[in-house]
Point group: C2
Chain length 433, copies 2
């Protein structure tokens, strides 16, 4: 029985209770949101060390960190470092996207060390295995893919990205239209290539019921992947992307009917003026299913700063209703991120999420900012550092940018600190705000 | 004769011609925008080494970098390092906000080394001099302040921030309402304190005509400062801030009548959902005068990352019509920025500005992104680095995050690079985008 099915029967599950407590929302209200599919709680019944998180309407915007090996960097220890960095920085979920080394071992080590929901993209492992065992990626069979999915959900993975909407119809629309960067989703590109090579429909689409059955057994949440997501601003919101989203909307209906929790993934590279429309489109086509966006990054020209370009897009997307932000690190488009990149990426996405939560009036969000303002006003540096989203970074700047710890004004204004001037000459208006 | 007066007479000045060339706009169209006050070209007739920039409607969003000494860091050489960092990173203007050491020398050295418009906040020097020469900041006289203004504009400064709207009326509204962080503008706090101490109106308001006369002589652009800008999200868009903006609107009219170029400064700390309204308000109250915003930063809780919080707010503000972004560095709220902070701050603000320019459909903006997309698609790394907004950072990531320069896919996906998979299995749809 999934959280969705149990909530529909009016049950307040342990997971709903936990999440309601985290969010400061009544368990009954949360239960109704889960029952309607507006909130998902990815919680594989086998993920024993999990502290569940809710994703969706009325809840704090969540942040996911992608980690994972590649052929060039297959080291498990490095992945566990990245996992620790992600968790320490406050990630709400982690995806293991490994494609190098011992994939099973990495996943199991990550699961064991991770108390937040873990996601995967099973087709990666299927691709890698086909390459290694059958000599070519396209030699993967549908049964291979479903075997991998089963193995991963049996390991306790809480949500899986499945590119079920990369259908012949969607690929046909892409080819007819043409694109600057074609397909930039690894899973999407592989599946499209597989389909064209074999002249067959996507097995994740034709055997969607088989997929639903597997994931329902463990209450794994489906994350319907956006294989057609734009890889540059010029490709954003085009017919291929929207065609896939229309199909994903239908698949959301089918998942909910089957009692399976489901969310929908979105772009990607999106011009700033199209971000809001992309969120509205998903909410409309997919009946308000939780929306999980990758970035979006709002310009293509800033490699080395894509944590920042995605924080701009992510903040706007979350304000418009996106529920779950997949971080982008400064290494994006240039190489596999290291632990420092992971840390920067998580903080940047958390800033975007929090700015949106304040804008949406989420209960409790603006109180954090207010507490910081009070600490600033009183020049209470220890409290400012304690309240900082990244206390270590704040302390490091404070210590390196001031000649000696003075405990009062900072080196920017010194004697001419506005806070001091106001206190001395203006008196202190009542704090009635 | 100012650019404004000459444009009103239909003259196409050398500065209008230069800016029109930079922006790819017809000189006649630009001349009309200048004549209507919708564009300013800060160009002091004494700034001999200036390459002018236009700020306002239909033009690329511009970025300003604040530099300047403080009592703790009075070293001129360090300021010149910061100036070089700002210019190398692509700042369109630089403000010298020095309050430590030999202020005259710093300003003159900055002017001599700076080919983009230079701005100052003269009241800082007046405060410092009063403190040093008269024993207290409040002992400054109105004549002292105007003497500093004259000295600075004679040095060739292209625009000056003057907090003319910090009037007894605005301060009274602030006191009546109460605020969490009172006044956080150094100039605003000082002037308000001075006014209350002397029980006198702001001389920049009562002697506004005197100010206009001085700046008109050298064609210095007024930047009407926002002394009441919010210092935290909780104070945003409050009565004190809006009262000042109403007054600034009247002062814009008076400046334009006197033939003086004028722009208006804005916040500050603003929740994401109020950013657009703040821009619309300025455009409405100030008859479309160019809007120069500081950030805005969209959360108070991220010291160490305020280049990022301000990039979020700046992108949204610029998309809504803000014309000029004052950068915020990662050191903001913690200490005086160093050259590395300046570099990060300028790039972050430029990313925000460019994302907005793409969104606004500014001619030429999206072509940059398109060129980058083409380079990505063809895995042309040298071209990607060349096109990057910060080529040095992109190269450094590329080199440090890949085991060896392979010239092909990067270490993120390696064998499973979507670009490669598409090329191998999917074929290449026509580039008809």
């Amino acid at each position: 029985m999934t959280q969705l099915l149990r909530a529909r029967q009016g049950e307040i599950t342990a997971e709903i209770l936990t999440v309601a407590g985290q969010e400061g929302i009544a368990p009954e209200e949360l239960g109704q949101l889960v029952a309607r599919g507006l909130v998902v709680i990815p919680a594989n019944i086998r993920h024993s060390n999990l502290s569940p998180r809710g994703i969706g309407a009325r809840l704090r915007t969540k942040v996911n960190a992608n980690i994972g090996t590649s052929a060039d960097y297959p080291d498990i220890a490095k992945e566990l470092d990245k996992l620790r960095a992600a968790l320490a920085a406050g990630a709400d979920a982690v995806m293991d996207l490994s494609t190098g080394g011992d994939l099973e071992a990495v996943r199991q080590r990550v699961m064991a060390a991770c108390a937040v929901p873990v996601g995967t993209v099973p087709v990666y492992q299927a691709m890698v295995q086909a390459q290694e065992e059958r000599g070519s990626m396209v030699e993967m069979t549908a049964d291979d893919l479903f075997a991998v999915i089963r193995r991963q959900v049996e390991d306790g993975v809480d949500f899986i990205t499945v590119h079920c909407g990369v259908t012949l119809e969607a690929v046909g629309r892409l080819q007819k239209q043409g694109r600057l960067t074609d397909i930039v989703s690894r899973g999407g590109a592989f599946l499209a290539g597989w389909m064209l090579f074999h002249e067959q429909e996507n097995p994740l689409y034709t055997q969607y019921d088989r997929l639903l059955e597997i994931v329902r057994e463990y209450d794994v949440t489906l994350s319907l992947g956006d294989g057609m997501r734009p890889g540059c601003l010029a490709d954003a919101t085009d017919r291929a992307q929207v065609q896939e989203l229309v199909i994903l909307g239908e698949l959301v209906d089918a998942a909910r009917e089957a009692g399976v929790q489901v969310m929908v993934e979105g772009p990607g590279h999106v011009p700033l003026d199209q971000v809001e429309a992309n969120v509205q489109l998903e909410k409309s086509l997919c009946r308000q299913a939780p929306f999980y966006v990758l970035g979006p990054i709002v310009t293509d020209v800033a490699p080395g700063y894509d944590h920042l370009t995605s924080a701009i897009g992510g903040a706007l997307a979350a304000m418009a209703g996106a529920d779950f932000l997949c971080y982008v690190t400064p290494a994006e488009h240039l190489g596999l991120p290291n632990a420092a990149d992971v840390q920067e990426g998580v903080v940047a996405a958390r800033i975007a999420a929090h700015a949106a939560d304040v804008a949406k009036g989420l209960p409790g969000a603006k109180e954090w900012d207010r507490a910081m303002a009070v600490a600033r006003k009183s020049l209470d540096w220890e409290e400012q550092i304690r309240l900082a989203i990244d206390p270590q970074k704040a302390r490091q700047y404070r210590e390196s940018h001031n000649p000696e710890a003075k405990g009062k004004a900072c080196s920017m204004c010194g004697t001419y600190c506005a806070m001091d001037v106001v206190a001395a000459y203006l008196g202190k208006p009542a704090d009635r705000c």
